[in-house]
């Protein structure tokens, strides 16, 4: 067992030395790989940060039903009973037009505003809290309520919050898509790097096999090379994303201040960093494994 670990330790350190001994070629490779990782990573962090922020905003979208000016108490009662029994309605409040006017006057500090007007210009209204915040449910509810008799129109408040959440969902999907695309790229780039290395060391591989090297002996240095490459590029990508956040945050803070908000992008936490390293390691070893297996299978055929 100890012997086995020693062998692996030797391969690991030798593979790292091999990378360090060709700093320029290695650096170019690492840059390419880490850019591929940094892009989805930055997007992920942006989406996560904005999600965290919007979660704290505490905006619950509301629907306001404005009644026709000439609606009768019976019409109000009909709407009320519909709202009471509707499964998509979480709660509602009736705002009587006289109260609404008083509130408006109080808010604007203009007492007796109505006296200059020809009666109360405000309609009766209901404020409805939807039970579900799903866009489709909200749209459907808005349409249904608009269809009730003597309803003038149904307004959707905090629609922007809804749009933001949709945007974030899009962002999540884009992150996932980019993540997968760049994961495939990582595997392919690693595969190619390792394939080139195998070609460069073909004599050594063939001679080693002739004097008793097992397939796992042949594979080992390449797998470790890929492992280091993957881990280093993940760390580099982490650095790039952190730098991007570091640069973007003051700008975002300035922008958010205009709206009296606080918004800052966060960096990876320890768990996420660990996961990133794990994924990068897995993907690059897979790429190397494909390359070595392909070569060994070809060698077998000869």
């Amino acid at each position: 067992m100890k012997h086995y670990l020693t062998l692996h330790w030797q391969s690991a350190t030798r593979a790292l030395m091999h990378i360090l001994r060709q700093p320029l070629a290695s650096l170019l490779n690492l840059l390419m790989l880490s850019l591929a990782l940094a892009l989805p990573l930055s997007l992920y962090l942006a989406v996560q940060s904005i999600e965290d922020w919007s979660g704290k905003l505490n905006v619950t979208p509301e629907l306001t039903i404005f009644m026709e000016m000439n609606s009768e108490p019976a019409d109000l009662a009909a709407v009320e009973s519909t709202l009471k029994n509707h499964p998509k309605v979480g709660g509602f409040a009736f705002i009587d037009k006289d109260h609404a006017l008083e509130a408006l006057e109080a808010r604007n500090g203009i007492a007796g505003m109505s006296e200059g007007l020809d009666g109360n210009p405000l309609p009766d209204a209901f404020v409805v809290k939807p039970a579900s915040l799903q866009t489709q449910d909200l749209d459907l509810l808005q349409k249904e309520l608009s269809g009730l008799p003597m309803v003038e129109n149904v307004q959707f408040d905090a629609a922007w919050a809804q749009r933001l959440s949709q945007l974030l969902k899009l962002g999540e999907q884009l992150t996932l898509f980019l993540g997968i695309a760049f994961a495939v790229a990582l595997v392919l780039v690693t595969h190619n790097t390792i394939r080139m290395q195998i070609l460069a060391r073909r004599d050594e591989i063939n001679i080693s096999k002739l004097i008793g090297a097992s397939d796992s002996f042949i594979r080992r240095p390449f797998l470790y090379h890929a492992l280091w490459q993957g881990l280093l590029s993940a760390l580099l990508a982490w650095g790039m994303a952190s730098y991007l956040i570091h640069v973007a945050n003051p700008v975002l803070a300035e922008l958010a201040r205009l709206y009296n908000e606080q918004l800052a992008l966060r960096s990876l936490n320890a768990g996420e960093l660990g996961l990133l390293l794990l994924i990068a390691a897995f993907l690059s070893i897979s790429g190397a494994r494909l390359a070595t297996d392909h070569h060994l299978r070809q060698a077998q055929a000869h």
């Binding site: 020693t6 062998l7 004599d203 050594e204 080693s208 096999k209 002739l210 004097i211 008793g212 397939d215």
Partner: protein
């Protein structure tokens, strides 16, 4: 022990390089393999080391039947054999020292013990002062010695040499033969092929003569 039991080898393309051969070589024996070019000497040696596999019959090496062994097990059989290749098969981008280190790396020898072993093997073949040289800078005879050092550094129980004295002048070839004899004297089973029998006859050892894949009498 090496045992061939009705062994035939047909290469892809249909050429029969060995035809129904049976013989055995005892542990610690030194045997010569003679025959003209194309007789099947290299093929026979490749069957012993599992580089090629028999088309029919059994090849038994160190009590393992190579014909029944899975391909993935063959490398471990080879780790107990030392091979001096006809075309040397040296790594020309590595130093003399690193070339001899290779078999120990493959076995997974501890690095410090390994360096001592490598120097001992180089000393044995008289190349200790060249350990830092590259193989390309060595003469033909020295390259042959380097091959031998690499073949014995892991102390195999069987040593195979494919025409090790070809292309060497007689004095040098005799030196090489003495080297093999010294391995035989410490208990290694040695099998050496040559197309020229004159060197062998001086040694009074068993000679297996091949012609067109069969024993020649």
């Amino acid at each position: 022990m090496i045992q061939f039991d009705q062994v035939s080898k047909r290469y892809p393309g249909g050429f029969d390089a060995l035809k129904n051969l049976s013989f055995s070589i005892e542990n610690g024996e030194m045997v010569f393999l003679a025959g003209p070019s194309g007789a099947g000497k290299s093929t026979l040696l490749k069957l012993v080391s599992g580089i090629e596999r028999a088309t029919s019959g059994n090849v038994i090496v160190n009590r393992q039947n190579l014909s029944q062994l899975r391909a993935s097990q063959l490398p471990y059989v080879r780790q107990h054999i030392g091979i001096v290749f006809q075309d040397h098969k040296l790594l020309y981008d590595r130093s003399v020292f690193d070339n001899v280190m290779l078999p120990l790396d493959i076995i997974g020898f501890d690095r410090r013990d390994a360096a001592r072993r490598v120097r001992a093997a180089l000393d044995k073949v008289g190349l200790l002062n060249k350990e830092k040289s590259m193989p390309i800078g060595l003469s033909g005879g020295e390259q042959q010695r380097l091959c031998i050092a690499r073949a014995v550094v892991h102390r195999p129980s069987i040593l195979l040499a494919d025409e090790p004295s070809a292309n060497l002048d007689r004095a040098y070839a005799l030196d090489i033969m003495e080297l093999f004899k010294s391995f035989h004297q410490v208990g290694v089973t040695v099998l050496i092929s040559a197309h020229d029998e004159t060197l062998m006859e001086d040694y009074g050892r068993r000679i297996i003569r091949l012609r067109e894949g069969q024993f020649a009498s």
